[in-house]
Symmetry: C2
Subunit: 192 residues, 2 copies
Amino acid sequence: MLHLASETASGWLPNAAAHLNEVLLDHAHCEKKAAGAAVKLLFSYPHHRFLQEPLAELAREELEHFQQVLGVLDERGVRYETIKPSPYGMALHGLVRRDEPGRLLDLLLISALIEARSCERFQILADGIADAALADLYRSLLACEARHHGVYFDLAACLVDREDSEARLDELARAEAEIIARPCEWVRMHAG
Amino acid sequence: MLHLASETASGWLPNAAAHLNEVLLDHAHCEKKAAGAAVKLLFSYPHHRFLQEPLAELAREELEHFQQVLGVLDERGVRYETIKPSPYGMALHGLVRRDEPGRLLDLLLISALIEARSCERFQILADGIADAALADLYRSLLACEARHHGVYFDLAACLVDREDSEARLDELARAEAEIIARPCEWVRMHAG
């Protein structure tokens, strides 16, 4: 369903559970970046009418999640501040082709994969952490991430033949599986 | 209340009323740009915690308005496409100072003025056009624009003393009054 080519390694959960505040802070930035990426597509591709409504809707939801996570940070007394991102997003964007429609297709499919990976990680957190309120938050958000994965996947299939889109998704998913497994010195939502 | 230094000239309404489809198309872009400007501030000033929630909320509302206006364009059979913007936004942004906190103060106050001008124009359209459904749309949106004006005005007063903020707002409002009155060859939400 999520088109991921790998499962998260078993070592990620205990590391994340031991640094939940840092994971939450990273998560807040991820929600904001997800909204930013959708808004950027609205501006980069104004001539693609089919993108406008779904991505506006998606950006609104990501901003709402950002606000929710900010609220949790406040409750936990965690200061919202910038942190070093994992190299995941930049590595994925390095795979984007330059020419259209390849470029837009890749941007849509990479967003689909990021949403899928977030969904998988939220499931792992929801099932694996002791904090029931936080587990509930992740459970509520993972359904949205799965839906957003579907939104990007469907938009990609509006741009090119579904077969071509799925073939490229397979390629990018294999690359994503390698990138997410790379060691990272900090615990992050999207790092090994 | 809205801190505008001028009223819209009487010639704007008949021109707008004669080109409502073009005004709506411009309006759709304005809503998207308003959302984009708020999201951009979230990324440019992550260390200003006080901006994050209000601007995320505001961006969500602007995106919702964008979707609403897209729906109206569809109903009227108007194709959503790019159009030449009025020179208003660029002229206002030319007034932004380079050094902080002047830069952020100016960005907040300019957004406050753009929201105020939108509010004033929506009121003129709501009162002056024959299309009742469209008048209702403008009436519903103008309340949000007035509220957004207040959001930006209050954020500016979180950044510097309210007195300093109001003094700069007066300066910028006088400049805005001159800029909005400049002749423009197309009918636009923000043009003379």
